[in-house]
Amino acid sequence: MDKFNTLTSVAAPLPLINVDTDMIIPARFLKTIKRTGLGADLFSTLRFQEDGSEREDFVLNKPAFRNSEILIAGKNFGCGSSREHAPWALLDFGIKCVIAPSFADIFYNNSSKNGILLIKLPQEQIDKLMKDAELGANATMTVNLEAQEITGPDGDVIKFEVDAFKKHCLMNGLDDIGLTMEKSDKIAAFEASQKVKIT
């Protein structure tokens, strides 16, 4: 997993609420046994017509936003299915940070385990960032995870909260399986104590 520190990019505005993981990556693209290559089908139905040509009005198809690494969206982003293909598709496309008023729980976990930073902000601040983002190519934002700050195109700074452990893992690109395996004695002790209850 890549380390996350600061990110400067044009931000793509996606002012939809309840963006579900079927919308991020429809189920028909889940028939893969790999983590890579899913970016081609990110937001497939929103991005492409039935004949496979691009929908010009979709934000990630507009020239200014094609290389956005930041996405700004409405509340409850990532609801629905637990498919980790959703963060894989975002990452494969190049999106490393999503900013929204709220996220669905499973998507939130899945994203942080893939080095994607999700930032929750109050609706008023989202509204402002959404307006900033609509300025397009000349309006880059900078996300600084260590300082927990977003600097908008006008130089305004917005502070954000992030779970301390997730921040640590993101900044250091840590694989938490390795960390947990260091506790295998504790796991074994738990297993030994538990057998009386449920087998």
């Binding site: 429809p26 189920a27 028939k31 039935e50 299915s81 498919r83 399986i177 395996m181 087998t199």
Partner: protein, 468 residues
Amino acid sequence: MNNATTLYDKLWNSHIVDEQEDGTCLVYIDRHLVHEVTSPQAFDGLRNERRNVRRPDLTLAVADHNVPTTDRDKKIDDEESKIQIDALEKNCADFGIELYSMKDIRQGICHVVGPEQGFTLPGTTLVCGDSHTATHGAFGSMSFGIGTSEVEHVLATQTLLLTKCRNMRVTVNGSLPNGITAKDLILAIIGKIGTAGGTGAAIEFAGEALKSLTMEGRMTVCNMTIEAGARVGLFAPDEKTFEYLKGRPKSPKGAAWEAAVEYWKTLKTDETAIFDEEIVMDVSEIKPQVTWGTSPEDVVAIDGCVPNPAQETDTNKRNKMERSLEYMGLAAGTPMTDIQINTAFIGSCTNSRIEDIRAAASVVEGRKVANGVQALVVPGSGLVKEIAEQEGLDKIFIDAGFEWREAGCSMCLAMNADKLGPGERAASTSNRNFEGRQGPGGRTHLVSPAMAAAAAVKGHLVDLDDLD
């Protein structure tokens, strides 16, 4: 100080292996269900790091999402699906995990198979790389869906790093009237609290109307907890739970059974426990439910109409409503019972158990599927299918013009050949009416099994009371 705890607190507290300074806990996982779609990358991760599966004996695998529901003797036409199913078989063989193959009568949707085999037990923690894992909470098991990185974490360590959910209780009081099913209750609950209403919460279900449900009904309710945003849904185990589990292949036997039941009886919320949030409803306010839009919170009573976005004051919500109505091809004010359907789908981890099949069959018996409607019944497992056939239910469906299929997820998420075409409209017993969920451009109305059967017969959404 109030030391009283909720059922969720008890399940959580009894599974903590280690607690970090920031409150994140390492939680032991007693049961892990594995399927073909969210596991291949996890097994690859294990191989890359030369790791083993810590407890293959606590792990059970079954292919469900991708499997064809037609003739199982033929090879799978879809090459990608075949690769994924073959990969599951190889991974299970390599790592010593029990797998119910496509030819095994125990094969089916993992959330039907787990309880059916007694793999799901009260007091356990149970995970699966599928958001509908909340289903197993019907047994008083702390069950929740996880992503593939977490699947790998559980395979390698039999634990997960978690932060505790807040405690929420949804109580539906009153005695359940005829014609109101578990599906109607959970759709009405989602309609009330919204699709993000349970985010960050574990929901315990209480109240006479909910407690009076059968185990199948409780599974339907817990299954859709995730559609209200909550990862965990719970019922306290009771005599119905024990009755359902007794004698199942993987349930404890003999003295172990007796000891287990004694322990399971302690698994309930203390009377003085305090929830972070309480929602109380009365069953008298709940009618048969149907969705009109593209989120499970978009529900109305079957005798209602498509709502008007102009009456919504929140701009974001109004925009979403307008988008939904355009996608669904519906005009505000249309009576729900005027909506014609092309397809009726009875199946999915929400509604494919024997009770669901019986409810649909009782509506279908002596009637015919309307002209131009494709109607499917996809039992939740080979065993559900077998019981239904022993009861002659397959003949009722086939005589009426339904297709009687093999077990799998099927049209719930359209990963196999069963899908809606663009603009086609379904009355579906599944759990998600998202855009494109049942096929690109497909339109979904979520309903109970009886309502889906009635819609198949009439060719449009219909109130059960209005069947001839």
